[in-house]
Symmetry: C2
Subunit: 320 residues, 2 copies
């Protein structure tokens, strides 16, 4: 059986799995990224984890290669460059250093592009040639496919839409210190910040009046919305409005057939998606109206990022 190692390096967790040709993740595990502040320790931990996973694999297998998704990773240079959610600063030659430890075919790409490949091979974008995957976790990422090809950009860093400025130089600051940057509003973190903002703007009673920022989790905001908490509902509406505007703007860029949404914020379901659809249609130019779909990821949530990373290798076998 042919398998591909998929690795998703995130700010919180590094997830590793073994993925078959249908995009099924057969074995998987994870460890906490921040426990390995030294890059060499981190790479050793990856190698040990892969060895561990493969040694437990019950069937005969052949490893075709290893695909890696990571924030700010460039496929063109094989490096991770100034990722705001990772501890290693500057330009990290991750591909080269990992290949020294694991001499198999290996590719790296930024996490949102990897998610787009995963949706194209295994998920909601099967058969599409023009679509955008939006990842809504700690930050806001985008993987853009046009003409059936990923757009990587001149330096391999296309799609960093979380830091585009939505307010002509005013507004909230992102992790990269961009004022008015999109991900300061539209992301799991952005939603938390908006819970704070709505408490500043309104006097409604709310369960959040007794919860500090650091104790606040996305699931709780969804639960509060389900109970009609006015601060939660206002926060979702506000987030959806800015996101609807952003997706309408992005439509004017590459005119995708669909946006495919994944990540923590999407788990809030109708509380974010219903107002999002309303605002998106309101802001969309007439020439695009009713022609752009909003879809949820077609990959199983917990292994989507691993499957996407594996798609980096599997796509070469699909094309043959």
């Amino acid at each position: 059986m042919d398998i591909v190692v998929g690795i998703d390096i995130g700010g919180t967790k590094t997830k590793i799995g073994l993925v078959n040709k249908d995009g099924n993740c057969m074995e998987k595990t994870y460890f906490r990224t921040r426990e390995y502040p030294d890059l060499d320790d981190f790479l050793d931990k990856i190698k040990d984890t892969v060895d561990d996973l493969t040694s437990k694999f019950p069937e005969d297998f052949n490893i075709l290669g290893c695909g890696i998704g990571a924030p700010n990773a460039s496929s063109k240079t094989g490096t991770i460059k100034n990722a705001s959610n990772l501890l290693w600063k500057g330009s990290i030659p991750l591909l080269e250093k990992l290949q020294e430890r694991m001499p198999i075919p290996m590719k790296i790409m930024n996490d949102a592009s990897v998610a787009a490949l995963g949706e194209m091979l295994f998920g909601s974008a099967k058969g599409m040639k023009d679509f955008i995957v939006v990842t809504l976790g700690t930050g806001f990422g985008a993987g853009i496919v046009a003409n059936g090809q990923l757009i990587e950009g001149y330096g391999g860093l296309a799609g960093e839409l979380g830091h585009i400025d939505m307010t002509i130089g005013d507004g909230r600051v992102t992790g990269l210190n961009v004022k008015g940057g999109l991900e300061a509003y539209v992301s799991a973190t952005g939603l938390k910040r908006t819970i704070m903002y709505m408490q500043s703007q309104y006097l409604d009673e709310s369960r959040f009046r007794s919860i500090a920022y650091n104790d606040l989790h996305g699931e709780e905001i969804t639960a509060a919305a389900a109970e009609g908490d006015p601060i939660a509902l206002k926060a979702f509406d506000f987030t959806a409005k800015i996101m609807g505007l952003a997706l309408a703007n992005f439509t004017a860029f590459t005119q995708p057939e669909a946006f495919i949404l994944l990540g923590g914020l999407v788990n809030s379901g109708k509380y974010i998606l219903d107002p999002l659809k309303k605002y998106f249609n309101e802001y969309l130019l007439d020439i695009y109206k009713d022609e752009v779909k909003l879809l949820r990821s077609g990959l199983p949530g917990k292994t989507a990022a691993i499957c996407g990373a594996a798609a980096l290798i599997w796509q070469d076998y699909r094309e043959q």
Copy 2:
């Protein structure tokens, strides 16, 4: 000698020329688009003009085909759809109807995409695979090339960036009634509107205090800036600031190697380009800094749009 007919349909003029393989426009002429409010009359006028140009052509020639650039034109449907600067409303089957009159190979595409092809074959983008052409005339258009291919979008209407909203639903209205739309600020028309705005905001003496909006022309704003007119200088600075922010945002989308600027606003030279460079570098994310060029069109101004339209046909011969 092989030649291609290039046609640029604009809100003001329709330009027609005969273009050789090196992108030189050998013969050219134009007529006023608005004098032909009836579509059939307009198409007859195009055919007559092409016949007239070719009958005068001094050498033996072979017409390879006809390329057409027009606002809101879709290469996928061959139509022009709801172009705000043209008189014909709804969806116009221009390609089909013109081909009835001129049975030669024919292609149509939106004017900014056509400009991008022209720059790639004959102009400033020779050899580039990732770049964006920005046209700054009556409106704001963009032709986006990534991975060496034009991005046309699912319905052939990608790149309509003039109507993206820069201000979260507030601000000036565009021709498509988008509040805060980019081209309401950044275009030849946007600059005129900013001359009005600066007169509302400041009390400086200025030659524009005695010129009405309808009598205002771009060349005059440039001339005023050269004389140090404070309203003109403030208007250029303001325009450049919003444009710098927009181009920085666009960089996060496809990470182009260069932006190539053309159209009326660019003719203001250093008055727009110097502050533009300053603001663009200020707004650009660190990961992109010093890696994105701002270039002017490499095509002769008066025939650039004709050469671009002809590139629609010439590109097929280049690829062979």
